[in-house]
């Protein structure tokens, strides 16, 4: 059974259709890259999967681990193993990063019927994961993302992912706003999490990220549909020739 099966998905926001019959199958252990020009529906796909309010499905289905994704609230999707790394991680004044991480982890554990982690257990775990990502303890004590640089915010996303250990992680333009050093740190974090049980959907506009997170499959998204699928070399072709031909193809 596929980990994620998207069939003929039509969805949009405020009555405007953005995804127009999208099909995608992701199996455990695979890394899929979704590339496409601005406005092709990349972020919409990410938000529809995560369950953001305002994004409406008008047709099609999405099965996650065999279950209908649209029967689940965003928190239930997360507990079921879906993770969205935000393109623009939000700042939450007044909520310490540690509190946020612990609340999230324990909420998921509770929903899955696992015992909540005690404070010492949690601290041990978070220190270990943070250490791997070069995140210092001081950052964990600060309010979530408040005053963080762009790179720190993205690292914090990867930290959350590493801690929550999802089955499927959707990375929405995780490379945007990152310099090359930050890109390497973030990519290393992601690569460390690759496993036969876990899958990734890496959404990006540029090929650059895929030098570091090497995909098994590359899809081109245009006008709300996947118009081409290939191996990792497809990303290089796109980098060389741009998205022009796919934009025309979709119109035709």
């Amino acid at each position: 059974m596929a980990l994620l099966a998207i069939r003929n998905l039509h969805a949009g926001i405020e009555g405007k259709e953005i995804l127009r019959g999208l099909d995608l199958t992701v199996n455990a252990g695979e890394v899929h890259a979704i590339m496409g020009p601005n406005g092709s529906g990349k972020s919409t796909l990410a938000y529809v999967l995560a369950g953001k309010a305002g994004y409406e499905r008008t047709a099609g289905e999405v099965l996650f681990n065999g279950k209908n994704l649209f029967d689940m609230e965003p928190d239930e999707r997360a507990a079921a193993g879906l993770f969205l790394a935000f393109q623009y991680p939000l700042e939450i004044p007044g909520v310490a990063t540690m509190t946020f991480l612990r609340t999230a982890l324990n909420a998921q554990r509770k929903k899955r019927g696992n015992p909540e982690l005690s404070t010492p257990e949690f601290i041990k775990k978070v220190r270990e994961v943070a250490g791997n990502l070069g995140i210092d303890q001081d950052m964990l004590r600060r309010a979530v993302n408040v005053g963080f640089s762009g790179g720190e915010k993205k690292r914090n996303e990867v930290l959350q992912m590493a801690l929550l250990e999802p089955r499927l992680a959707v990375l929405d333009e995780t490379d945007s706003g990152l310099d090359i050093d930050a890109l390497k740190i973030v990519s290393d974090g992601v690569n460390r999490l690759r496993s036969p049980e876990r899958a990734f959907i890496v959404i990006t506009h540029y090929q650059r990220l895929l030098n570091y997170i090497v995909p098994d499959v590359v899809h081109v998204l245009s006008k709300g549909r996947i118009v081409k699928t290939g191996g990792k070399e497809l990303a290089l072709t796109l980098e060389a020739h741009g998205y022009g031909e796919y934009q025309e193809e979709a119109v035709a």
Binding site: A50, F83, I92
Partner: protein, 442 residues
């Protein structure tokens, strides 16, 4: 006295006239005190209850809100005293010296008066007034604004309260907890307390107000606070009155030079609350934190009205007030910072924020800056709005259920005000109260 009210008196106003006529000869104090009471009552008799055409009471029309005036509470009997048993539980594990007031009357046998630290003296206002204590009479009514009708009613009808003195240089390690409890019988109480913190002394003063749910009792409480030079005081007022209670309380403080003055108002109880503060910064270079958190639901109405009066130069004040309003609740904040001509180098910043959890909740906010000096830094900001859906989604996308996500955001919002309290245990206790409130909120 000549107590005729010229225009149409409300039932409550008439009842207050009768109450005073009956009680005046039995209230503690004679001579000067009696004259002070009479003068104060004259003001009420002339003006009546404050109403919406009085600017300071614009949003809290006491004349309309106060349908009747309850009779004065009688001295607490054994049953009334028993109601104080669980009083102050909102403080959690905070270790404090509890002083119990039942229906406005000091109850020494329920209070912790053992082993008073050196420099600390605690007494009852009724005793001080009856005995004509010159030290008390010298201070009483000196800073509470005589022109405010709520204060005037308190002065006219004050029955008892605390008289506390912290001697010069004394550090009182255990917080003092003035615990005001109302018993079952719906009545009116007029407690008046006087606290003098002498130069260089340090103390934490917690004032809590509570009473039975469903009882429409009436509280008019006032605290006059004199803070000496270089003294350090942390004052925290917790208003956790019963669901039908009318609570009017006043803090009037005079703060001398180089003091540290912190006050925090935590408002979560009562049907109608008016929490007013009149703060005079009389001496230079004082650092003041004036903060508050209000949590209202149902049809609760709570009004926080503040006057921060910068008289001397070089004082700093930070005003931070946050409110969370659900149901059809109505939250009011009126904050006025006045900088007198001599108060150069004043640094005052006021921030008020309201979080509306329902479309029928209402927040009114009236910040005012009145500046007569030319070399000052003053500012104010205000926001009102609903919970941020984007933040809520971010939390939910990490597996946190909707209700828990909202609770986390609300706690964070109030936390920014509560973290201004220096006492860690009390911060925690108040955050626990917030969490408990969130659990049962509609």
């Amino acid at each position: 006295m000549n107590a005729e009210l010229t225009t149409n008196k409300t039932a409550a106003e008439s009842a207050l006239v009768n109450t005073f006529a009956k009680a005046r000869d039995h209230l503690p104090g004679d001579g000067n005190v009696a004259a002070q009471r009479t003068a104060a009552f004259e003001l009420f008799a002339k003006q009546g209850l404050p109403h919406r055409r009085i600017e300071e009471w614009k949003y809290t029309d006491l004349r309309a809100l106060m349908r009747e005036a309850k009779p004065l509470a009688s001295p607490p009997d054994a049953a009334a005293k028993a109601s104080a048993k669980t009083a102050g539980s909102m403080l959690g594990d905070v270790e404090a010296r509890r002083l119990i007031f039942v229906d406005g009357i000091f109850v020494p046998e329920l209070s912790d008066l053992k082993g008073l630290e050196s420099g600390l003296s605690i007494g009852s206002l009724a005793d001080a007034l009856a005995g004509g204590d010159p030290a008390v009479l010298a201070y009483l009514g000196k800073i509470a604004p005589a022109g405010d009708v709520a204060v005037a009613l308190n002065t006219a009808l004050m029955g008892d309260g605390a008289v506390i003195r912290i001697g010069g240089g004394a550090t009182i390690e255990r917080p003092l907890h003035l615990c005001f409890v109302t018993s079952q019988k719906p009545a009116a109480t007029f407690a008046r307390s006087l606290v003098t913190v002498e130069p260089g002394a340090r103390v934490m003063l917690i004032e809590s107000h509570e009473g039975p749910a469903g009882s429409d009792y009436q509280i008019n409480s006032a605290l006059e606070l004199f803070v000496g030079e270089r003294a350090h005081i942390d004052h925290v007022k917790i208003i956790a009155d019963g669901t039908e209670a009318l609570h009017v309380s006043t803090l009037a403080a005079a703060v001398a030079a180089r003091a540290r003055f912190n006050t925090f108002s935590f408002v979560m109880g009562g049907a109608v609350v008016r929490n007013q503060m009149f703060l005079n910064f009389d001496g230079e270079d004082t650092v003041a934190g004036i903060r508050g958190a209000t949590l209202l639901g149902g049809r609760q109405h709570a009004d926080t009205t503040l006057l921060a009066n910068h008289i001397a130069r070089g004082c700093q004040s930070r005003e931070v007030f946050k409110s969370v309003l659900g149901g059809e609740a109505h939250g009011v904040f009126q904050g006025r910072i006045v900088v007198r001509r001599g108060a150069q180098k004043t640094d005052a910043k006021m921030m008020t924020q309201a979080l509306l959890l329902s479309e029928r909740a209402e927040a009114d906010n009236k910040p005012e800056l009145e500046i007569y000096a030319d070399d000052v830094q003053c500012g104010h900001g205000a926001t009102a709005g609903a919970l941020d859906d984007e933040l809520k989604f971010y939390l939910m996308a990490r597996g946190i259920p909707a209700a828990e996500a909202e609770a986390l955001l609300i706690q964070a919002f109030l936390g920014e005000a509560i973290e201004g309290i220096e006492h860690a245990g009390l911060r925690e206790a108040l955050m626990d109260s917030v969490a408990a409130w969130l659990k049962v909120r509609q």
